[in-house]
C-alpha cells in the first residue's frame, strides 16, 4: 500500500526524476539511496558508496518507485500514437538514465512522424540543406561553407542548428572555432575577437596559442585592417609558387590569407625574440654557462610559441641550439678523454701496488662513465633532428660503442681483483 502511495506521489510530479528509497534506523538516523536486502542486512547505495546495517537495526524502509516503473506508468497514461507525448516520455527516460528505452521511444516517434524535430535532435540529428544529418556530417558542411565564404547562412542557420544537438566537447570546440572564423570572415571583428579569446581560454595548449595570437591581433587592429609588409606567402616571389600572392599594403583581416600572413608575422616576432636570446647565450657560453643555458631555455620557449602558430617555423633555430649544446658537451668530452689518456699513461709507467692499481682502474672507469653520460646527452639532444645532425649522431654512437667496450674491459679487471 505504501509502495502504491509513493508511486502516485511521484507520478503527481510527472516529469520529476525518480526518487531514492528512505531508510529509518531505530536510533533515529535516516539514509536515502537505492535499498537492497540480503542475508539479514539492508544495503543502501548512497552517493559516496554503499552502507550496510543489520536488518534488526532498521525501523522502516520507505520505498520509492524505480525510474523504469515511473516510465511504464507514464506510458500507460499517454496516447502512444501521439508523437509529442511519446517524445516527452523519451526525454524523461533520457534524463533518468534510461537511455535504451529513450532511444526505442524516439524511434517510435520517428515511425509516426519522421520529421519530428525534437526526436531527431535527441537522436543527434539536425536539419540542414533540406535533409537530416548527424553532427559530424553537419560539421563538415559548416567547414565547407566557411571555406566557401558563405558565412551568413552558416552563422544564422547551420551553426545554431548544430549547437542544439552537439554535446561532445571536441565537436563543441570545433563548432566554436568555425563560428569564430565565420564572424571574422563577416567582418564582425569585436565578436570574433571575443570568440577567439574564449577559445584560447578553453582549448588545449597546442591550439590555444594560435587562438590567443588571433585574439591579440584583433585587439590590436579593432577595425580589421592589417598591414602586409612583405609579399605573402614569403616564397611566392622566389619560387613562383603562388600565382596571386598578397601584395604588401593594407588588407582586411576578414580574408583568411591576410589572417595567415598576420599570424606568420606574429610567429616571426617570436622567432626573432628567440634568436636574440640565442645570441645572448652565445656571448655567455664561455664565461657563464648556466646563464647561457637559461637563455637557450627561454629561446626554446619563444620557439615553442612560434611553432604553435606556424608549425616548424623555428625548427632551424632549434637545430642550431642543439648543435651548439652538442659542441659544448663535446668540448667537455675532450677534457674527460684527455684525463683518461693521462690515467692510461700512468697505468703503463708505474709499478703499482694492487690497491693503487685498483684505485687507478676505478678512476679510469669513472672517467669513462662521465664520457658515456655526455655521449648519451649528445644523442638525446641530436636525435630529434636526425636529418640535420646525422654526423653528430653517428659520431656519438661510434664513440659510445668504444667507451662501452673499454668499460667492459675495466669492469672485468676490477672484478678479477676482488
Amino acid at each position: 500500500m505504501n509502495r502504491v502511495l509513493a508511486l502516485l506521489t511521484a507520478l503527481a510530479l510527472l516529469a520529476a526524476p525518480a526518487g531514492a528509497d528512505r531508510v529509518l534506523l531505530k536510533d533515529g538516523r535516516t539514509f536515502e539511496g537505492k535499498v537492497t536486502e540480503a542475508d539479514g542486512n539492508v544495503l543502501i547505495e548512497v552517493s559516496y558508496g554503499t552502507v550496510k546495517f543489520p536488518a534488526a537495526q532498521v525501523e522502516s524502509i520507505e520505498r520509492m518507485p524505480t525510474a523504469d516503473e515511473v516510465l511504464q506508468w507514464q506510458l500507460g497514461q499517454i496516447d502512444r500514437s501521439d508523437p509529442d507525448a511519446l517524445c516527452q516520455a523519451a526525454e524523461w527516460a533520457r534524463d533518468n538514465h534510461l537511455t535504451k528505452q529513450a532511444d526505442e521511444l524516439l524511434t517510435d516517434v520517428l515511425s509516426i512522424d519522421p520529421n519530428h524535430l525534437r526526436a531527431r535532435n535527441l537522436l543527434g540529428y539536425l536539419r540542414a540543406d533540406g535533409k537530416w544529418m548527424e553532427v559530424p556530417e553537419a560539421m563538415d558542411l559548416a567547414a565547407a561553407r566557411l571555406e566557401a565564404g558563405k558565412c551568413e547562412p552558416l552563422l544564422c542557420e547551420l551553426l545554431p542548428a548544430i549547437r542544439e544537438v552537439v554535446d561532445d566537447p571536441r565537436q563543441l570546440a570545433r563548432l566554436k572555432d568555425i563560428e569564430a572564423h565565420g564572424r571574422l570572415r563577416l567582418g564582425q571583428f569585436g565578436l570574433a575577437r571575443k570568440a577567439f579569446a574564449e577559445l584560447a581560454a578553453t582549448a588545449a595548449p597546442s591550439d590555444a596559442a594560435k587562438y590567443k595570437a588571433i585574439a591579440q591581433i584583433l585587439t590590436r587592429y579593432p577595425e580589421g585592417m592589417y598591414v602586409i609588409r612583405e609579399t605573402y606567402p614569403a616564397t611566392a616571389m622566389l619560387l613562383s609558387a603562388n600565382p596571386s600572392p598578397l601584395k604588401p599594403g593594407p588588407a582586411s583581416l576578414s580574408r583568411p590569407e591576410v589572417l595567415a600572413a598576420a599570424l606568420r608575422d606574429h610567429a616571426k616576432a617570436e622567432v626573432a625574440r628567440g634568436r636574440d636570446l640565442m645570441n645572448q647565450a652565445r656571448g655567455l657560453a664561455k664565461t657563464e654557462p648556466e646563464a647561457a643555458k637559461a637563455r637557450y631555455e627561454l629561446a626554446g620557449e619563444c620557439f615553442d610559441a612560434a611553432d604553435a602558430i606556424v608549425p616548424r617555423i623555428a625548427r632551424s633555430y632549434r637545430v642550431e641550439i642543439a648543435r651548439r649544446q652538442v659542441e659544448a658537451i663535446t668540448d667537455g668530452i675532450k677534457v674527460e678523454a684527455q684525463k683518461f689518456d693521462l690515467l692510461k699513461e700512468e697505468l703503463g709507467k708505474r709499478n703499482l701496488s694492487p690497491i693503487a692499481y685498483r684505485d687507478l682502474l676505478t678512476r679510469m672507469l669513472r672517467t669513462l662513465n662521465n664520457i658515456r653520460s655526455d655521449l648519451n646527452a649528445v644523442l638525446r639532444l641530436a636525435e630529434p633532428f636526425e636529418r640535420e645532425l646525422i654526423l653528430e649522431i653517428t659520431d656519438a654512437k661510434g664513440e659510445l660503442q668504444t667507451i662501452n667496450a673499454l668499460r667492459d674491459v675495466l669492469t672485468e679487471q676490477l672484478n678479477a681483483l676482488r
Binding site: E223, T235, P250, R255, K268, S316, E388
Partner: protein, 397 residues
C-alpha cells in the same frame, strides 16, 4: 538613427560622383565599415573607389579612422600618383604609433619620392670622347685625390677626381644592398696604374689576367690594408670606361663582402655574383650566356655551382654568367631586408637554401633548393629569350 552606415557611405560616394566639394561636405563614414569597404575596393583593383571611401573615413571621428590614410596612400600609389601617395603615407605616419607600420609607411613614402626624382646618371655614361681622350693622358707625376672613404692615386688628376667621386657613389649603392645602408667606417686606397705591365708589377697578389684587384689583409704593422688596384689604359693605350663601370664597383664589392663576412667563408659563386651585380651596367651578354647554358644543359646544377671553389674547374664565362644571374635573380625576388638577412645567415655558415628559408621564415623543406633551382632557371631562360626577342646583339655588354 535616421541613416544607417551603409546609407551614409552611399551618400559619400554619391557626393563624390556628382562632384560636391570633398572637404567639409561629405558626412564622415563609420570607421570599421568604411575601412573594410575601402580595403575590398583596393583588393579588387578599384583604386579610385578605395581612395574615395578611405578619404571619407579619414574625416570620421571614430577611433582608428586615421588608419584609412594608408588605404588612400596605397590606392594613390597604385594609380601612379606618387606625390599625393607620399603625402598620404606621411599623414598615416604622423598618427601611427606602431614602429613596424611606421617603418613600412616611411619606406613606401621614400619609394614614392624616389620614383618622382629623375634617375641620376652614373659611371662613364656622362663621359664624352674628349673626356675619354683626356683620361687617357699620363703625367710624369702621381696625383692624389681623397674623399670620405677613398684616397685615389693616379697619374691623371682628372681621373683621380672622377674615380674618387664614382667610388663614393658605388660604395653607397653597395652598402645599401649589402649592409642595409649601414656606414662603411674605413678608408680604402685606390691605385690606378698606367698599364697592365705596371699594374702587374704592383698588384702582385692579383690574377695575371685581371685588370683590377682588391686586397683586404692585416699588414705587418697590425693595421688593416684595404686597397683596390686598377689599370688606366688598355692594350691600345686608350682609357677603358669599363674601369669605372665594371672593375671599380666589382672590386669594391669584393672588399665590402670580405669585410662583411670577416673570416667566414662566402661561396665563390655568391661572391662573384654579388660583385657583378654591383657593377654599374647590366650584363646582357652574361644573361644570354646563362640562358644558353641552361637551355643546352651546359649549366652546372645549383648545388654544384654553390660548392665550386675555383672557377677554373668549369668554363669560367659560364660560371660567371650563372653566378651573376643567380644573384640578380635573388636580389630581384627578395625584399632588401630578406636579401640582407640571407647574407647574414650565409656569413653564419648556413648553406644558401637554409639561409633563404631562415630569411623568409619558412619551415625547413628538403625540396627547397630544387624548387629554387627550377624557378631560377625558368627566369634565366625567360630573360635570355626576352633579350633574343629584342635582338640585342648590338648591345656591347
Amino acid at each position: 538613427m535616421p541613416f544607417d552606415s551603409r546609407t551614409i557611405l552611399a551618400l559619400c560616394l554619391l557626393a563624390a560622383v556628382i562632384g560636391l566639394p570633398a572637404r567639409g561636405a561629405d558626412p564622415p563614414v563609420p570607421a570599421v565599415e568604411g575601412i573594410q569597404q575601402g580595403l575590398t575596393a583596393l583588393s579588387e583593383g578599384d583604386g579610385r573607389l578605395a581612395e574615395q571611401i578611405a578619404l571619407a573615413v579619414t574625416r570620421s571621428p571614430d577611433r582608428g579612422a586615421w588608419r584609412a590614410w594608408l588605404i588612400v596612400a596605397t590606392a594613390r600609389e597604385r594609380l601612379g600618383r606618387k606625390d599625393e601617395a607620399a603625402d598620404a603615407y606621411r599623414e598615416f605616419m604622423s598618427r601611427c604609433a606602431d614602429p613596424g607600420e611606421r617603418a613600412y609607411a616611411a619606406g613606401c613614402a621614400r619609394r614614392c619620392d624616389r620614383a618622382k626624382a629623375a634617375p641620376a646618371a652614373d659611371g662613364s655614361r656622362r663621359l664624352t670622347d674628349d673626356d675619354l681622350a683626356r683620361l687617357a693622358e699620363v703625367a710624369d707625376q702621381t696625383f692624389t685625390e681623397s674623399s670620405e672613404h677613398f684616397v685615389v692615386r693616379a697619374r691623371n688628376a682628372e681621373l683621380a677626381r672622377i674615380v674618387a667621386r664614382q667610388a663614393e657613389a658605388d660604395l653607397e649603392r653597395i652598402c645599401g644592398t649589402l649592409l642595409g645602408g649601414q656606414a662603411y667606417p674605413h678608408t680604402v686606397d685606390i691605385h690606378i696604374w698606367t698599364d697592365v705591365a705596371e699594374y702587374r708589377r704592383h698588384a702582385t697578389s692579383a690574377a695575371e689576367w685581371s685588370g683590377g684587384s682588391y686586397r683586404l689583409a692585416r699588414g705587418e704593422d697590425g693595421f688593416m690594408i684595404r686597397r683596390i688596384d686598377l689599370t688606366q689604359l688598355d692594350a691600345q693605350r686608350r682609357f677603358d670606361p669599363a674601369v669605372l663601370d665594371r672593375v671599380l664597383p666589382h672590386e669594391m664589392c669584393h672588399l665590402v663582402i670580405g669585410e662583411l663576412f670577416g673570416g667566414a667563408h662566402c661561396p665563390l659563386a655568391i661572391n662573384e655574383g654579388l660583385a657583378m651585380m654591383a657593377e654599374a651596367t647590366t650584363h646582357n651578354g652574361r644573361i644570354r650566356l646563362a640562358g644558353a647554358a641552361v637551355a643546352t644543359g651546359a649549366a652546372t646544377d645549383l648545388s654544384a655551382l654553390l660548392r665550386l671553389g675555383r672557377c677554373d674547374d668549369v668554363n669560367p664565362d659560364v660560371f660567371y654568367a650563372l653566378s651573376y644571374s643567380l644573384m640578380a635573380f635573388l636580389h630581384s625576388r627578395l625584399t632588401a631586408g630578406q636579401f640582407r638577412e640571407t647574407l647574414g645567415h650565409l656569413k653564419d655558415g648556413l648553406a644558401l637554401d637554409e639561409a633563404l628559408q631562415r630569411a623568409l621564415y619558412e619551415p625547413p623543406n628538403e625540396e627547397f633548393l630544387a624548387s629554387l633551382e627550377r624557378s631560377w632557371r625558368a627566369e634565366v631562360l625567360r630573360q635570355s629569350q626576352f633579350l633574343q626577342a629584342l635582338d640585342v646583339a648590338a648591345i656591347p655588354y
